[in-house]
Symmetry: C2
Subunit: 230 residues, 2 copies
DNA sequence: GGTAAACCCCAAATCTTTTAAGGTTTTTCT
DNA sequence: AGAAAAACCTTAAAAGATTTGGGGTTTACC
């Protein structure tokens, strides 16, 4: 603690978790300079899942964080890691439900956004390319007083989802997702608990839903992307 | 036209449709005073469905509006009227797809918000109690450069919907909606194309989905409201 | 040009939803 | 409190969807 806060000031505690040291410093620098009513902003940082987890667990019995910023990808994606920001978000929700959670993600892909909005229901979601001092400040203020805050690109994805009348069940979503990452139709059986025949049926059905009958898988995937499903 | 615009200025044309004369004046007053890059803002108004329709139709062959603000309820709701803002929005989308559409609604109820977001997919949605000079200005700027703009209460409804894993079909939604406006179960058959037996089945199913088994309809409706369906 | 994958069609089995008919419980009104 | 209406439940048959296996044809790719 560098200096005592003035009496009249409330302290706004923020935890930021991102595995890039430099990015963290940037966030800390910006966040602590936000002028916000009579709040004194204090930013704590963590650069890994474990560190983040510890800080959140410590906070349970001391001062709870007002806002927790979480990077969705907490580790280099090539090294297989069991945990990511989404899990940390779920954990934080359980341990300290009063802390607001804001996700930061480099991908604006709808599949992940939709999944996080469902599993964690964060108070904010920011696509990294939308993040700058101005949007960070807006996020902090909005999240404290009237959440949620969704950054511009996140809103774009949300809009697509909301304007959609097509509803897909888990199996359909999985099929689309696996096709989109290049899984071959014959290998889908390994990931989805259905016979190959059913999978073919569902693919046909999906293509008719998305208006890409008799076209190839790429057309289906593009249509599904446009509509916000992947 | 009161005075010529400067050469360097682009004109931003706005149409606002609301059946309250005074509200219209307020919007016009605020909107035309927005300072926005080198834009000169020009607000046209209409106070009924027909007037709005005419202005939109005229605009097709002259200068298209950049933004159209539409009140959802265009007539006193007790006098039966065939048209409302939603219809006008659908019409505008067809005639002038390049114009951005922003809805203004006094009800923040999720059923209507969801329905409008699907049928028109507007570039903005503002709940009236969220509207003030600041939010109007933000709406205009956001809608022009990076739509969509959703006001705080609208975002609240959207968040509920997005964080939800329950998916309902049209019949389920209609059942919930009619129950919520007080329609008796025995009268539901008149509005929904199903047998009374099926409707009872679906009500049972809905109650189990929303965790209100063996409870009465009020409990179901409250749960559905909490989850953003009505 | 041959092979693997993708795609299509059919019919049986299974699962889900709808429907009607009859009953019990709860609510509402007098 | 008692009658009537509405809500709710149960059952079983019918209709509709989905799944599955077994066959085949077409398309893509080396």
């Amino acid at each position: 603690m560098e200096h005592l806060t003035e009496n009249s000031m409330k302290t706004l505690r923020i935890l930021a978790v991102d595995d890039h040291e430099m990015t963290m410093l940037g966030y800390k620098f910006i966040l602590e300079r936000i002028v916000f009513d009579d709040h004194n902003i204090l930013v704590d940082t963590a650069t890994s899942y474990e560190m983040g987890k510890e800080k959140i667990e410590e906070s349970v019995h001391s001062f709870k964080y007002d806002i927790i910023f979480l990077d969705v990808q907490l580790f280099p994606p090539n090294e297989e890691q069991p945990h990511n920001g989404e899990d940390l978000g779920v954990l934080a929700r359980e341990l300290v439900p009063e802390s607001k959670i804001v996700f930061m993600s480099s991908f604006s892909d709808n599949y992940r956004i939709n999944s996080i909005l469902q599993s964690v229901d964060p108070d904010g979601y920011m696509v990294k390319t939308d993040i700058d001092p101005k949007s960070l400040e807006e996020a902090v203020k909005t999240v404290v007083y009237q959440p949620p805050y969704y950054s511009s690109k996140a809103l774009g994805a949300i809009r697509k989802k909301m304007s959609n009348d097509i509803t897909l069940d888990e199996n359909d979503k999985k099929i689309l997702y696996h096709l989109s990452i290049g899984t071959k139709t014959k290998d889908l059986e390994k990931h989805i608990d259905l016979s190959s025949s059913s999978i073919e049926n569902r693919k046909r059905h999906l293509k008719s839903l998305f208006g890409t009958e008799k076209e190839n898988d790429l057309a289906l995937i593009l249509a599904a992307k446009n509509r916000g499903f992947i």
